[in-house]
Symmetry: C2
Subunit: 433 residues, 2 copies
């Protein structure tokens, strides 16, 4: 039995009943078993002790949308619009990917996420067996899905669907439960309606949730109207997408009725502010979504459109941009922004009973921030400091499922230097291929 | 004679003729005397040698608007509108400031700026002698001004003006030339027109430039129209403000004619995106300002409205938000954004012949970034990586005026732990006072 006793730490719990606790936390195996101002009594026998002074402990961050392997394409196509970026730059390069590219691109993304405090990430890509292997080895938690594009002959559609189903079936619950799976049509504009229906049917059959890109750009919404006579939310609803647990990425361009329908159907929204700004897709109506009761969480999208995977950046952007856009400085206050990156992330991936806050009985997925830095002083409103001044580089230690995976800023289970070198070589070979 | 020879480094120069150089740089005393792909020939005698591998060298960042001492009020008033924040929270607390608060608040800000790669900062505050002493000691470069608010009896106005003049006269060119000074009415809405005229007259007399807050909120613009029958740009122009070298902070709410006038009068704009978003003031028309030929630079504003002083954050925000707002992903591309934080900062404070780029003959104000991190891989478009993935926490070493002031992330000339502790105590005493 493994026990860890953190003494004299500051805990930002994201539990509204006790948001900040200065005191003690005990972890036993993969669970938090104690969290209180007073030291545990009796003292936990045989526990490793950690001096928590100068550290702030909080739930690990949850990144609800991304494509990890695309980190090889970081900086490959900047300052261009989404369709050029996607169709002329990303897809041709991705078409040349081999297994090694997925492996080292994903590994590069995983070390960046772990070191910056992300303990759970959603990944939609292909060659997902490789992604799952990286998740298994790295100690991170993954919500994984083979995203399928249906703009292809029906035999290819079928092959992709079968691959996605096999992956979802084979890997669900694996890696000590750290991996869960979903089914994903890439987007309404890249999947014909009948193909989306087959994917939904497969999700029913496998009893897994659904994820997709939706309403990222005004152009794709207009195309949906032209092609199918309705906007994407109504379109997906008619196809039965929301009959299953589901969440969508982006959701930038929404009408009031669409927001109401997402709330009614309990559909989560992964807000990707940096990617949406960088590709000039627009700015999601986050305050309206929150007001309507939609579960909003945060995603980085890929490093090819962001271009980093530090979720603290998304938390700060979410807290800042909606104030500037709406003219209301009270929207998305600091605590709400931090919730988007933690508890709401857990809700989005249906794991809020296990993840997203520091509470007795929950999984021990948590991070330690080095607060002995000028930007955390004066040490008063620590939630505000995390949101408006914090960064993934402030993360010192990371635990997932009770196991320490980052110590002193270094990944314990992965060879960072090797991954950086392999990723560099993969990119250079992609250029030559 | 002090010489430093950096071998085998990557230099992002911000000199358009040679934007990236992989090679060698030699510093002699306070100047860059060599920068080339080839090693210097003859080799610089008696030079300290630095292995540049794994490091990226670039000009130090220039923060063109802030109030350093307000870092004591970081997190003291979040998620509120500017007038409440300013009049009900900031001014009452600032009214209780004593010398120690200015000293330790400024010191806290300076260590945060130095560690995150800012080598020159603009500061508008009071008790400026203390600020200047901190600048002198810390090794940073400061463009300092005693900002005056004129909403007070005329004898108090006169006393403040005399204090501002004395400061500007006494400290200009001090600290080995690292300090320059300006005169500053706080804002058109806090200074009666005749008081602004007296300040302008003093600037003429002392031959120093002018700085002010301008058009930060729609409300203050409207008040200007109500009180003086014109908008702030025209108002300041009529008062003769632009007859001297000058730059303004914020400039969020501008009409086309105002942008044209700022360009014509060669008035710089310090764009403060995080502060403007956080206080919901709005979003400056940066692409239009740049297109019109206005020199746009970046400021953090104070840690009470940001809430950090990492200029990399402002660089990234400047690159991201204007794309999202305009719907044009090509505006403020990565190189332009980095220029706002470096060369344009130097232009704004009239020091572009000395600062803002790595060039032979310029002052040796530069920083070294640790690029052996996942978010800088693959190592391809380093300017893009700096802007879209970089952070002040990636800064390893800092040199100002040829002198190393940060090494391995630690300030060499200031006692960081003492400053953090003193700042904490100052804030706690402010609450009690």
């Amino acid at each position: 039995m493994n026990r860890l006793w953190i003494e004299n730490g500051t805990f930002v719990t994201m539990n509204e009943k006790a948001p900040v606790i200065k005191g003690h936390m005990v972890v036993e195996n993969d669970r938090i078993i104690y969290l209180d101002e007073e030291p545990p009594n009796p003292l936990p026998e045989g526990a490793e002790r950690l001096d928590g002074r100068g550290l702030l402990f909080m739930p690990g961050l949850i990144n609800t949308h991304g494509h990890a392997a695309m980190s090889l394409l970081r900086g490959y196509s900047d300052d261009q619009n989404l369709q050029v970026w996607l169709e002329q730059k990303m897809w041709p390069m991705e078409g040349k990917y081999i297994d090694a590219d997925t492996r080292w691109g994903t590994s590069l993304a995983v070390i960046e996420m772990l070191k910056s405090g992300t303990t759970t990430f959603v990944d939609m890509y292909d060659r997902m067996n490789i992604v799952a292997e990286v998740v298994e080895q790295s100690g991170i938690r993954g919500v994984l899905t083979r995203g399928v594009i249906g703009l292809c002959p029906s035999d290819v559609q079928t092959a992709k669907l079968e691959e996605a189903k096999s992956f979802a079936r084979d890997w669900n619950g694996k890696a000590d439960g750290r991996i869960t799976t979903m089914m994903s049509p890439h987007a309404p504009y890249t999947c014909p309606p009948d193909y989306i229906e087959r994917i939904i049917e497969a999700a029913h059959e496998l009893n897994v949730p659904l994820h997709t890109h939706m309403s990222e750009t005004a152009a794709e919404v207009q195309q949906n109207v032209n092609d199918y006579g309705c906007r994407p939310v109504e379109h997906l609803d008619k196809l039965g997408f929301f009959s299953r647990p589901s969440f969508v990425a982006h959701a930038v361009h929404l009408h009031d009725e669409e927001i109401a329908l997402l709330a009614e159907k309990n559909v989560g929204v992964s807000h990707n502010p940096a990617s949406n700004l960088k590709l000039a897709s627009g700015i999601a109506r986050v305050p309206d979504l929150i007001r309507a009761g939609v579960t909003v969480s945060l995603g980085t999208d890929s490093a090819a459109s962001n271009n980093n995977l530090d979720l603290f950046d998304e938390i700060r952007l979410a807290a800042l941009i909606h104030k500037g856009i709406t003219g209301d400085p009270t929207v998305v206050p600091a605590y709400e922004a931090l919730k988007l990156g933690t508890l709401n992330g857990a809700r989005t991936v249906w794991q809020e009973t296990q993840l997203g806050s520091l509470e007795v009985g929950k999984k021990a997925d948590f991070i330690a921030i080095d607060t002995e830095q000028p930007h955390f002083y004066p040490q008063t409103e620590m939630v505000s400091h995390l949101v408006y001044a914090g960064s993934g580089r402030d993360v010192k230690h990371v635990w997932i499922n009770g196991r320490q995976v980052v110590s002193g800023g270094e990944c314990l289970l992965l060879d960072e230097a090797k991954i950086r070198a392999e990723a560099q070589q993969c990119f250079e070979r992609l250029l030559e291929r």
